[in-house]
């Protein structure tokens, strides 16, 4: 495939959407540090530029390599997660791994690995067996093992994302409705078991979510302050750098999980809806790719990545607006954090590669 043809086929609207989100992120982080490119905004913008570079490079990589490597990647990811649990980097929280001075969270590539592995698995299954439960059991195992490992770290937010992303691939692969219904019931039944597995601080977060006013100065503080910041932003916001909740440090974690709140305080409902619209457009654009590609692997990968991205946005926004407990889910491309941003761009790179190398009309 010629260079020009490849460049022509690159889904530029996806890249523009992602760059817009990165730019919004940089602006928000500039405000979060009281009007300074240090320490977050500058690095965020550079990472964004690097991410786009990754996408462009991946556009020239044939997706078949991903197909071939997918199982290995999942096994490698699981191995690293296990290793992380055994050695650990912090006293209680074992999320980070450091190679050659660069720290990253191995749970991030695991998300993509799961989707790729599931896509390959379903791609390999004969069509006529798709109605039977047996086909889905190994897939459930592929989700469950990394899910439990990440839960153990403990990182409830990421574990939830692995689960939702994996399940959406299962659903997209054609999981019969009766099993969908069964899964919902099973989830409800599993809830108490899961609850007992949660750490004390996770339980308190959930309890606080259910009634934030019970603990105004403790765990409920974040939710209450976030709602105050959002609500006081009103329709048009208090203006750039003018969000009193954020600028006066009432808002916790404003550069990561609560960045959406900060934008909402300074730019109001209008700013927030604009961002939601960008995410919706990005998710639907990726989802649309699944209609354009040939292999089942490609279709499922795109669907899974699209849904994973959307779930991140949904959980984050629902969390900061007080509709879900605070579980620790960043806002893709806007929240500060190198690993999560790179993961998103790798996902976009995979989508690009698939679109270029597996289009139906070829």
């Amino acid at each position: 495939m010629s260079l020009w043809r490849t460049l022509f086929r690159i889904p530029w609207h996806i890249i523009v959407l992602s760059l817009l989100l990165v730019a919004i992120g940089a602006m928000a982080l500039y405000s979060a540090s009281e009007g300074s490119w240090q320490p977050w905004a500058g690095r965020h913008a550079m990472r964004g530029a690097f991410g786009v570079g990754v996408v462009l490079v991946m556009a020239f990589v044939d997706f078949k390599i991903l197909h071939r490597l997918s199982y290995f990647m999942l096994i490698a990811a699981i191995a690293v997660l296990v290793a992380l649990l055994v050695i650990g980097s912090g006293p209680n929280v074992a999320r980070w791994i450091s190679i050659g001075g660069v720290s990253f969270q191995p749970s991030e590539p695991a998300k993509i690995a799961i989707i790729l592995a599931l896509a390959r698995y379903f791609d390999s299954q004969p069509q006529d067996r798709m109605q039977s439960l047996i086909v889905y059991l190994p897939a459930i195992g592929m989700i469950a093992i990394p899910f439990l490992l990440v839960m153990k770290q403990p990182d409830l937010g990421t574990a939830l994302m692995l689960l939702l992303g994996g399940l959406s691939v299962l659903f997209a692969a054609g999981l019969p409705w009766r099993y969908v219904g069964g899964a919902v019931i099973a989830a409800l039944v599993a809830m108490p078991v899961l609850w007992s597995q949660l750490h004390a601080y996770q339980k308190s977060r959930v309890m606080t979510f259910l009634n934030p006013e019970s603990d105004v100065l403790g765990a409920g503080y974040q939710i209450i302050q976030s709602k105050i910041a959002l609500g006081s932003g009103g329709l048009f916001g208090k203006g750039f750098l003018m969000g009193s909740q954020s600028q006066l440090d009432y808002l916790p974690e404003k550069q990561t999980d609560f960045v959406f709140t900060m934008i909402g305080e300074e730019f109001g409902l209008v700013g927030n809806l604009f961002i939601l619209a960008l995410y919706l457009a990005l998710s639907l654009s990726i989802l649309r790719v699944s209609f354009l590609v040939r292999s089942r692997f490609s279709q499922l990968t795109c669907m899974g990545l699209s849904m994973m991205l959307f779930f991140y946005v949904f959980v984050n926004v629902a969390m900061v607006s007080g509709m879900l407990p605070v579980v620790g889910a960043p806002l893709p491309l806007i929240s500060y954090g190198g690993t999560s941003m790179l993961t998103v761009f790798i996902g976009l790179g995979i989508v690009t590669s698939i679109l270029i190398h597996d289009r139906q009309e070829d």
């Binding site: 105050i228 849904m307 949904f314």
Partner: protein
């Protein structure tokens, strides 16, 4: 077949893709709805909460106006006191820190519990006041340990002090912390929690003038409570300073002199006093409220200082030069945390130190009322200066017999000699001729029977009875016998020492219905009073009688003349029975006052003005259960007047 399946599955997956897209769109819509609810529907509520976060409105309490005596000596002022505060956010463990604090400074468990309670309701970055009355020593002890006490800080505030202590207690009254009832009446008090309000005395009466207006500081604060910038600043307006008419020099003398009565003080430290103290509950109660004057009475017993009232006023301007009510109390006890122990001691003290006897103590005026009766009779034309009656020691009226205080009688009396010797029978006679109504009218014109309007709260109006009064309160008709009893200031008649001073001042002034005031006045303020409208010749006769009380050969107080150096004085004694004397007792010979229990002894009263020519000051003295007006009250009044003239002069 296989192709069909393949197509089938593609259809299924496409359908699933659309379902996912639909789910994405609807979930986004759901988020948008939630955001609309927060940011549009509920925005005013959250904006308010945000403002409450962002801005801290601090009320700057005003500096309370000070009180000075007429020579600008401080009577009530504001002293800096140190506050101990704690910020829960910075304290590692609030409970432990409080426990540690309690080992360094006085910090009762109750207060610790209060702080813990506050910490639960306030944001953790807000300072909580732990103590507002740290002593210098406590401050020093805390300062050296401050490294061990994270979250503990200090601040300064003002608190009311009364440098004269008990001496001016019934004049100043006191300031104490705002009560819930006051907040209900005036909600602006709620935001000034450290500011006390006047509860009694001048502090209460002039509360509005003294309080001033609070300032406001709107401060932007960050999440840790650190001020970022002051946004608006309305300075507080200090209350007005007041210059009182009181002269501390006279006041000090009057307080000492009244409480000494007719006895001598004893050294507190002596072995004898300590021994007496150990077993005498009355003496203990006395010392416990801070009164350290102990007297040796005529029977060589150790007794507490006398209780009673003395008030000196300027007969022209109405300015009150001295106002003493004994026993006294220390108003500084009330300005901070009033200890239960102190409150109990003050409240349970048998002689009620919190009562201001000058304006709220009611006493039968006794013979000091005779000027009223004499003036009423003279004005009514019932008698003239030369009208005489014969005193045989008693007066029959119907079946009753009314005695004169002198058993053998006074013989032939006119109005002047009857005042001089305080002959009861003479006043029985003229009162019966004048009638109670005219006596009452005269009493009211002289300032009795109604509050004098001096600037003190809870002033009593006393009772000057007449026919209607008796009908209304007792439901029966007035009898001539009651006129007889009233003519010597007993029976239903009740007055306050303040009223008696006003009465004396009006008699001495002669032309103006002078009224008392606790505020210092400029020299030309004397003409504001209404005319008295009592015949000058009648007043001259009464004043001659009062002169004779001290200067006549048979004057009841002629042993207690005021030295000519001060211009001499004219006055009237009053000895008030607090118990009826039965016929049997009278025949046996009346038991001497000093041999009766304290509470059954007569009240000793004396009213006077000085100097005799061009009078300037009027005084009334009441020594509760002090014996006779002449031997106890007259010398007290004489000495206080001497001091007043020495301090103030007569022009």
């Amino acid at each position: 077949m296989r192709r069909g399946k393949e197509k089938d599955l593609r259809r299924v997956m496409s359908r699933r893709g659309f379902i996912l897209a639909g789910a994405t769109v609807s979930m986004t819509g759901f988020l948008a709805a939630r955001l609309y609810y927060l940011q549009v529907a509920q925005t005013s509520r959250y904006r308010r909460l945000s403002d409450r976060n962002q801005f801290d409105v601090r009320v700057v309490p005003p500096v309370r106006g000070r009180l000075f005596d007429r020579k600008m000596r401080l009577v009530a002022g504001n002293a800096e006191s140190f506050e101990l505060r704690i910020t829960p956010l910075y304290a590692d463990n609030l409970q432990e820190t409080l426990k540690l604090l309690a080992t360094i400074v006085d910090l009762p468990e109750l207060r610790q519990a209060y702080v813990l309670d506050m910490a639960k309701t306030l944001p953790s970055f807000r300072e909580i006041m732990v103590r507002d009355d740290l002593s210098q020593r406590e401050l020093a002890r805390l300062a050296v340990r401050s490294a061990l006490l994270p979250g503990v800080s200090f601040g300064k505030s003002l608190r009311r002090i009364y440098p004269q202590g008990a001496l001016t207690c019934h004049i100043t009254g006191y300031v104490s912390p705002v009560t819930q009832r006051e907040i209900e009446k005036d909600e602006t008090l709620e935001i000034m929690p450290t500011l006390g309000t006047g509860k009694t005395g001048v502090e209460l009466v002039f509360e509005r003038n003294l309080r001033g207006f609070p300032g406001r500081e709107k401060i932007e604060v960050n999440a840790t409570g650190r001020p970022i910038k002051v946004l608006s600043d309305v300075p507080s307006a200090a209350g007005n300073d007041l210059r009182l008419s009181i002269d501390i020099g006279v006041q000090l003398h009057a307080a000492e002199r009244l409480r000494r009565g007719r006895w001598d003080t004893v050294e507190l430290g002596s072995h004898e006093v300590q021994a007496a103290l150990a077993q005498d509950a009355e003496l203990q109660a006395h010392l416990a409220v801070g009164d350290n004057m102990i007297l040796r009475d005529g029977n060589d017993r150790l007794v507490p200082a006398e209780s009673g009232a003395a008030v000196v006023m300027d007969i022209h301007s109405g300015e009150v030069i001295s106002l003493v009510s004994a026993p006294m109390f220390d108003p500084n006890l009330f300005t901070g945390r009033l200890l239960n122990r102190d409150w109990r001691r003050l409240n349970e003290h048998p002689r009620r130190p919190l009562l201001n006897r000058v304006t709220s103590g009611l006493y039968a005026p006794g013979s000091t009322f005779k000027m009223v009766v004499g003036l009423a009779a003279l004005e009514a034309g019932v008698i003239s200066e030369n009208t005489e009656f014969f005193c045989k020691g008693e007066r029959e009226l119907g079946t009753s017999v009314f005695h004169c205080w002198r058993k053998g009688g006074h013989g032939v009396m006119n109005i002047v000699s009857a005042l001089e010797q305080s002959c009861d029978v003479y006043f029985y006679e003229i009162a019966l001729k004048t009638g109670i109504q005219k006596i009452r009218d005269m009493a009211l014109r002289l300032g009795l029977g109604a509050a004098t309007g001096v600037n003190l709260p809870d002033e009593k109006s006393g009772i000057i009875p007449n026919h209607e009064w008796k009908l209304a309160t007792k439901g029966s008709v007035w009898t001539p016998g009651e006129t007889v009893v009233a003519s010597i200031g007993q029976g239903y008649v009740l007055t306050t020492p303040m009223q008696l001073a006003v009465m004396t001042a009006r008699i001495a002034n002669g032309s103006k219905a002078v009224a008392p005031s606790l505020l210092s006045k400029s020299a030309d303020a004397s003409s504001d009073f209404a005319p008295l409208n009592i015949s000058e010749s009648a007043l001259a006769i009464i004043r001659r009688g009062m002169f004779k009380v001290l200067h006549g050969a048979a004057g009841t107080a002629n042993k207690y003349k005021l030295s000519k150096d001060y211009g001499g004085m004219a006055g009237k004694t009053g000895t008030v029975q607090v118990r009826r004397i039965s016929l049997a007792q009278r025949e046996k010979g009346i038991v001497k006052n000093i041999d009766r229990p304290w509470a059954e002894r007569d009240h000793a009263l004396f009213v006077a003005y000085a100097p005799i020519k061009n009078p300037r000051y009027a005084i009334s003295v009441v020594v509760e259960h002090g014996g006779s007006g002449s031997s106890t009250a007259a010398p007290v009044a004489r000495d206080i007047l001497a001091k007043t003239i020495a301090e103030r002069g007569v022009t």
